[in-house]
Amino acid sequence: MKIHEYQAKQIFADYEIPVSDEILCHSVKDVEKAAEKLGLPVVVKAQVLAGGRGKAGGVKLAKTKEELVNAANQILGMDIKGYTVEKVLTAKAISFTDEFYVGLTIDRNTKSVVFMASSEGGVEIEEVAKDNPDAIHKFVIDAEIGLMPFQARQIAFKLFDDIKLVRQGADLFEKLYRLFIDTDASLAEINPLVITAEGNLMALDGKMNFDDNALFRQPEVLEMREPTEDEKTEIEAKEKGLSFIKLDGNIGCMVNGAGLAMATMDIIKIYGGEPANFLDIGGSSNPQKVIDAMNLLLADKNVKAVMINIFGGITRCDDVAKGIISALEQMDVKIPIVVRLSGTNAAEGLEILKKTNLVTVASMGEAAEKAIEMAGQTV
């Protein structure tokens, strides 16, 4: 789960990490009021859940009232990577002397939380990682003891010479680690972390992602969720135990398991078709899930054929078959459905489906071919 910059910085502020004075605004009027309160110059920043906002012109410095109104007008309503800007953050402009990058994430390789720090702040960190990987210092944190003060100091010494800044930095890093753990984050970045003209550290921009698996114990994080329309569908799906991502093709897919679902999409493409979605009905068998999944698929008007690809393990094929029949009884399905069942209770499942006029096939490849063929025939 992703949140906006203003939300990440609110969490930083809750943990006493210094951030600039700033006000969230929904209109040009809001921006004008905010600038009056904060005093010019201010920075107006688009709040969207996508990267590359700076390059897209979503961040503007305003020194005069005129510049301010122009900036607000330009940014509000702007499109950034498919997201419409509906709110901006108006922040007091800060003079600074140096920019740094610090971030925490989970490293699959060492199976631990890793702290990253770089003097190359204020730019896209992926670029730094590619062009000058040695400029990023990485520190593996022992999960049982956490980020110890000495380690926070070691990191700070990589960035700062002045002992006053080392101490400020170490303290800030400990807070960043604490909030990362407390909120079950999967990413917490400050970029840039600056030294202000007054010689203190401040987080000028922030970014946080969270572990979806842990949201059940993070009600405050969950409250910050602001999904787009597509994401709303994905979230609703998730609440029903389904993992769903909408795509642009015309073959609706219903598969059990993420890997098989991806392989199903791949094979549809290999045979010349276009999947309409990624849909994983997950690892536990339950007829209701199949009904929910069918409803989800059929809600997309682009879908011209459905390919159901089930390899039973924990999911029992007979449950899936029952679910398909229940779903068909409850809805008026006009498009063709190709079903492939293998694995646990596949024989029983196929037996159940015999009573219907669904197309049943033996392999993934066949199912894909058949679904593409039938989608082409559907008006």
Binding site: R108, F216, I245, G259, D266, S284, G365
Partner: protein, 290 residues
């Protein structure tokens, strides 16, 4: 021979009185796995089928000398169940549970290392040594004893692949589903080492997917240490980018986790990558000179 489990494995089932736990306990037993007990707090003395139930893993181990466990408890309690198994001295812990918070796994890892506990999963289908033992939710009937070792990050795709092997006359030594979560127990490198040292295994199938850099690391390991033939498959070659992948993940992995990069890494390590599941048995047969 085989790796990790065999006919000497004494398996217990944590969460045996739940829907999935009881169903699969019996399926595993039917397959021939030596399921010696189950754990469900407050249900000691009961039986699931003819499998005795205990209140704690400690009690179960004391009574049954179990050396492996499979976990079916809800995500909220999964990490605790792994701790309990590790503390009770169980050597191999298979965690089926899906949706375990990542930081729970991160916090577990040092403890498991300290205790020398091997973990598979979470969010995995388990593993099978055909004809000897099945510890997981995999459909037993698709497997066949043989000389191909298989490891996979995904669940049902594993079944698909095994099915391809079996229907093409290629039996398996052991098939391991390592799970799809960001932080998990045994991974490609450890399993490659085990298969390399297993006399029964003559060829290895590695099934990967997009995201992370585990496949790239596996390719490097194969190049340096593995002498047996390996063939691979990568799921998600056509998947849209940017889902479930933060910036920092990409930074850490020094790559973006795309299928193209993984395929390139494998090809550089001399590992052919199948485009469709049906190509896997063909590639294996080529390598084994059949």
């Amino acid at each position: 021979m085989s790796i990790l489990i065999n006919s000497d494995t004494r398996l217990i089932v944590q969460g045996i009185t739940g829907r999935d736990g009881s169903f699969h306990a019996q399926k595993m037993k039917e397959y021939g796995t030596n399921v010696v007990g189950g754990v469900s707090p407050g249900k000691a003395g009961q039986k699931v089928g003819d499998i005795p139930v205990f209140n704690t893993v400690k009690d179960a181990v004391a009574a049954t000398k179990a050396n492996a466990t499979i976990i079916f408890v809800p995500p909220k309690f999964a990490a605790d169940a792994v701790y309990e198994a590790s503390e009770a001295g169980v050597e191999l812990v298979i965690t089926i549970t899906e949706g375990v918070p990542t930081l729970d796994m991160v916090k577990l890892m040092p403890y498991l290392k300290k205790n020398g506990t091997k973990v598979i999963g979470p969010n995995c289908p388990g593993l099978v040594t055909p004809g000897e033992a099945l510890a997981g939710i995999l459909p037993g009937n698709i497997f066949k004893k043989g000389n191909v070792g298989l490891m996979s990050r995904s669940g049902t795709l594993t079944y698909e692949m095994v099915n391809q092997l079996t229907t093409n006359g290629l039996g398996q030594s052991t098939c391991v589903g390592i799970g799809g979560d960001p932080v998990a127990g045994l991974y490609y490198e450890e399993l490659l080492e085990m298969f390399e040292n297993d006399p029964q295994t003559d060829a290895i199938v590695l099934i990967g997917e997009i995201g992370g850099d585990a496949e790239e690391r596996a390719a490097k390991y194969i190049k340096e240490k593995v002498t047996k033939p390996v063939v691979a498959f990568i799921a998600g070659q056509t998947a849209p980018p940017g889902k479930r992948m933060g910036h920092a993940g990409a930074i850490i992995s020094s790559g973006s986790g795309t299928a193209a990069e993984k395929i390139k890494a494998f090809e550089e390590a001399g590992v052919p990558v199948a485009k469709k599941p049906t190509e896997i048995p063909v590639l294996i047969k080529e390598r084994l000179g059949k």
